[in-house]
């Protein structure tokens, strides 16, 4: 592997990311499975870095998952998107940051289609007025929330308490990155670093002391596949794709995985559990899995957030071996406590996965 070659490519994909003043839109999956990640994103950007990140309760899903499950027409999803953009405009913003990769890809695709077919944009603007009485607008800058954390990575590093380093050996942790397919595969220029060697997560990991591990199936989809996961009869598709990725990364012995798409960490975490429980196969050390994180969780960890504030207790693959490796303290007694210290009981233990 020639690192300089990648650097040349990264230099060619420079995405303009404004420093401040964003309209923030949440992700259906991240809210459902990683609510603490979104809370952490807002806490870091607003409270630690002093940025203006605005959220309104009036925004909704972008409809992307329903659309990519083929259950609503393109015109419907475009009008929902137009409504989100219109809210941004209404609240006086022109920079739009979304938490979801499916949304991000769909926004890029939609804006490109509008640009190419102005009559369609006109129709959507009329739909928007008829249904919501909102004024049509488009963001001046559209970024994914991981683009912002990438932008702030050095500021985060400057405030960090821990590094992605094995405290016993002093060696950088071996980190696998996984980019959501809809981040830049459709429009390479919209992603930091392009489509083939995206830099958005690599940049974070490098800034925070870790070492990126490339492996053959790095670019492969996690296997969500929308309908291929929602319908039980199709789920083998989803599982087999995650399985392919883990078989491919196994020889590289990664310490952890970092992701930027909300769905991928769920699938990469949970299918490891299924593979362990059904096949007896685990990919981490000593019967553990390889812990999978959102970029917000990793940012939170290096900044010294309590792992249980980050929601790491809701992962199925246990994170404790990694926390020990870095030297991040945690209180096992507090893992399953509710907000006011109420003990919520413990989840059952998996049969195989430690």
């Amino acid at each position: 592997m020639i690192y300089e070659g990648k650097k040349k490519i990264w230099a060619e994909y420079q995405k303009e990311i404004p420093e401040d003043h964003y309209f923030y839109v949440r992700s259906c999956i991240r809210q459902s499975f990683f609510p603490a990640s979104e809370a952490t994103f807002l806490d870091i950007t607003r409270n630690k870095l002093g940025k203006d990140i605005f959220e309104t309760e009036h925004h909704t899903t972008c409809g992307g998952i329903a659309y990519h499950s083929d259950t609503i027409p393109q015109e419907t999803v475009m009008t929902i998107i137009a409504r989100q953009f219109a809210l941004m405009h209404k609240y006086g913003y022109e920079n739009y940051v979304c938490s979801c990769i499916t949304s991000f890809g769909l926004y890029c695709e939609t804006m490109e289609t509008w640009r190419e077919y102005p009559e369609l944009q006109q129709k959507i603007a009329e739909n928007l007025w008829k249904s919501c009485h909102l004024e049509f607008a488009k963001p001046k800058f559209l970024v994914h929330a991981s683009d912002l954390i990438f932008k702030y990575r050095m500021q985060i590093a400057a405030k960090s308490k821990y590094k992605l380093v094995n405290k016993n050996t002093g060696e950088p942790l071996r980190v696998v990155e996984h980019i959501g397919c809809h981040y830049s595969k459709m429009f390479p220029s919209k992603g930091v670093g392009g489509a083939e060697y995206p830099y958005v997560l690599v940049g974070m990991v490098e800034a925070w002391g870790g070492q990126i591990v490339d492996y053959p199936e790095r670019r492969h989809c996690c296997g969500f596949g929308f309908r291929q996961y929602f319908i039980k009869g199709n789920r083998g598709y989803s599982l087999s794709n995650t399985h392919k990725k883990f078989e491919s990364m196994e020889p590289f012995k990664p310490d952890m995985i970092i992701t930027n798409c909300p769905g991928c960490p769920y699938f990469l975490d949970r299918w490891q559990y299924v593979i362990a429980e059904t096949q007896g196969k685990t990919y981490g050390q000593d019967g553990h899995g390889i812990p999978v994180f959102t970029y917000e969780e990793v940012a939170g960890l290096v900044m010294g957030y309590d792992p249980w504030d980050l929601g790491l207790q809701t992962h199925q693959v246990s994170v404790e071996p990694l926390l020990d490796k870095i030297g991040i303290p945690y209180d096992p007694a507090k893992k399953y406590l509710g907000k006011n210290g109420k003990y919520l009981g413990e989840p059952q233990k998996p049969q195989c996965l430690k």
Binding site: D43, E57, I65, S131
Partner: protein, 231 residues
């Protein structure tokens, strides 16, 4: 040029996605579905570009068009700027419009997908709504999700969420006014009508099979013929 092809060409995704295929196979080479299913996206693009209605009709009635996971990895690789994934999406929409989707096992899954996802959107404003995501239907979500489900309000409170509560935040209760707007968008953009058609087609099929709606849902949720698979 056939009528089905004409209808396909009205779809912006086809107009954007079809730009003369050179049959090189770079799409199929990296397609997550192609390794798993008996599936070759290159063939589908080739069939569509032939503009032969008989072959297109066969596709619309087949399981083949439902194998794609819409990851759109194919888009990056095509040397001719085609988008196999977008062409599939246009075919699926036409299959639903023509009712041909009811002729394949994978197509009939539309009933459940339409019902569940849009129920979440129209009632809560989310595609995925944590409280409706049940461990029983998703054992793969793990024993940790079983624990979350049991303590869902506490867990969301603990993790900075705002489950079903007023104001902004993760999984907040989205105001009714906003949900009403979503419904209006559905009404004027054809989603309501499409959902109604999919629902009626499914219920008719259930009746033909002598199944209750619940039994029918169970059938299409779990059914999976071995003929789909590659191995």
């Amino acid at each position: 040029m056939g009528k089905l092809y004409d209808r396909l060409m009205k779809d912006y995704r086809l107009r954007e996605g079809l730009n003369a295929c050179i049959n090189c196979g770079t799409c199929t080479a990296i397609c997550p579905a192609a390794e798993f299913y008996r599936y070759d996206p290159r063939r589908i693009v080739d069939i569509v570009q032939h503009q032969d209605d008989a072959q297109i009709e066969e596709l619309l009635k087949s399981d083949t068009i439902w194998y794609c996971g819409e990851c759109l990895s194919c888009v990056t690789r095509c040397p001719r700027k085609n988008a196999a994934g977008l062409i599939i999406m246009a075919l699926r929409s036409l299959s639903i419009q023509t009712g041909f989707f009811m002729e394949s096992e994978k197509g009939r899954q539309m009933y459940l997908l339409c019902k569940d996802l849009n129920h979440n959107i129209l009632n809560y404003g989310y595609c995925i709504y944590a409280r409706a995501f049940k461990y029983d239907a998703h054992l793969e979500a793990g024993v940790v999700w079983q624990w979350v489900e049991k303590n869902i309000d506490e867990v969301f409170d603990r993790l900075g969420g705002n489950l079903d509560k007023e104001g902004p935040g993760a999984m907040r209760k989205i105001p009714q006014k906003d949900l009403d707007e979503l419904k209006k968008i559905y009404d004027i953009t054809g989603a309501t009508e499409m959902l109604e058609n999919v629902k009626n087609a499914g219920l008719k099929k259930a009746e033909e099979l002598g199944l209750t709606e619940e039994e029918y849902c169970q059938k299409i949720y779990t059914e999976c013929s071995p003929k789909h698979f590659n191995h």
